[in-house]
Amino acid sequence: MPKVMGRLLHSHEGKLLLVVVALVIFLSVTTKAFLTAENMLDLLTSYAFSGMLAAGLLVVLISGGIDISFTATASVAQYIAMTVANHYNIGWVEVIAISAVIGIACGLLNAMLIGTLGLSSIIVTIATLNMFFGLLMFFTHGNELFALPDWFVNGASWVVYTDSQQNPYVFNLQMIGLIGAFGLTAILLTRTNIGRQIYALGSNVEAAKRVGIKVFQLNLLVYGYMGFVAGIASLIQAQYAQSVSPNALVGRELDVLAAVVLGGASLTGGVGTVFGTILGVMLLAFLQNGLLLLGVQSYWSQCFTGAVILIAVSALAIERQRHRASARRVMA
């Protein structure tokens, strides 16, 4: 057990955990509202969309690529799924299937373009972001969908517990989506052969090719998975927002990227864990929520978030430099 603890403290996740725990302790001492079941459940619900996307993006980053287009993919998926749901008599299964298929299709398109054009993944996905978003805005004229089917608006939630003041604590779709996305990603990355291949691809493309990993097929899977998660997350978000707006999601892609990177995933690939990503999302969520509860003007919240990102990536870089230096000493 001490061995595990020691290893944890030396890893990035361990240090991040300490930071998150310190933040939680600080906020629960200074504010009354922070460490309450109600606030935590609210946070889970409102950060479900970002969290799910972070899980998908983690897989892409580990494979050594990057995806910027997922917010546009999500916008397209939720708009089409909800338009179909408004016109035809369909239920949850069909809606989920439609948005998943659209998400996967967009992801596969990204992977095929990356594999054939010889452009880096960031350039291709910036281009497809503009294509998906531009076409969506062109065909929808930017019109929002306010009227959604009743069964969708009502969603599904289960009251788990009711306190003495009759406040219900519910378990809802957003939480299912969030837990599902992280669970599925964890299984994919740590319990399957494909997960090991994704790590191998991100660590060293050339070596991965030499051992017989089919890079193109694996990329199809990675970007397809990102698209799939974006498609499902878009439904979760539409259910939470109770409306669909074609331009509400695009522009949030860099926030999600920041959360994943805070969690220790490297842009050069091969590094990153689901646990770290969860901590990264938690850190940003707690920070923004905490600033609000502390009574800091909401105008300044973004400035603090930026400072935290800057400090965290600097700390990570210094840590990695030290690792490399000690590795050199061992070699010499």
């Binding site: 350039i123 281009a127 531009g134 978030t305 930026g306 990536v313």
Partner: protein, 350 residues
Amino acid sequence: MSQEAVTRMPPSAPPATAATRRVPLSPVLLRLFTLLAALLVLFALLLGDKLFNGAAVRSMAFQLPELGVLSLAMMIPLLSGGLDLSIIATANLSALAAAYVFTHYGLTGGGAGVLAWHVAALLAAFCVAGAIGLLNGMVIAYLGVSPILATLGTMTMVKGIAIGLTHGGVIAGFPAFMVFIGNGSVFDVPMVVIVFVLVAIPVGILLTRTPFGNIVAMLGSNQQAVRYSGIDTRRVLVKVYMLSAGLSAVAGLLMMARFNSANAAYGESYLLITILAAVLGGIDPAGGFGKVSGLVLSLVILQLVSTAANLLNISQFLSLALWGAILLGVAGVGRTWAWLRPMLSTRLGR
């Protein structure tokens, strides 16, 4: 001399022979010129006089420089193998600094006083930009943070400062000089175009005709090798990001002059478009290769598509989609051509 040859040529390129030297255009420029010509013919058939008249050309000329200067600000870090996501945030905060000086310290005295007032406002903008550039450069060069992440952090923080100080509001009401820069013309040439030319030409010279430009491009090819050849790469990187921030400030002042106001969130949709424009203009996103001339051509193409879409009464968003498609299409054509050429040349050779 040999140093120049090393920086300009891709590692795999064959040595320049007399035959290739006679061709004045690089393949990238040739491709862009072909695309531009094709688009001009297409739009001439579709639109005719509606596109090729004074008013349409003038409106294009007024719109292009903002994105142009921002793309230059993105281009320099791209050449060095990095990226600067904080350009828009820097542009807005610099413009807000200038706007603050303009609106809070109004000097109405003599000519010298007014001049000092203008200079102070512009100085404020460039000081803010310089500080942001220095921060970016230090974090990237000395701490070894990847440029995307470092500038993502500063982008969020700088925008946060701008929002925090202004509460998201607009600062407006500037002296006639700024309004003239934004909306005036000299001999029918918009001032914004003159500013763009005055910025683009020195940047082009700096990047291709000076030791500094060579080192920046070499950094993009192989940072380790540059360091081993005795150049302090960290100082160069700091300069790269300060230059990028300075150009962002110019862009911010241009936006401020055009809209006659400054705000924390102007031009945000330009951010990823600048990368798109630079890559379309032949700048290698991995660093090392690219020229201002290519960038200017790609900007003209993007602006042409956008204006034509506007005149055809097509939504601006479709031109956004077209921009993405053009980038992928050009890359696709280049790829297919590279694949076809060996086959064709062997066929023709026989």
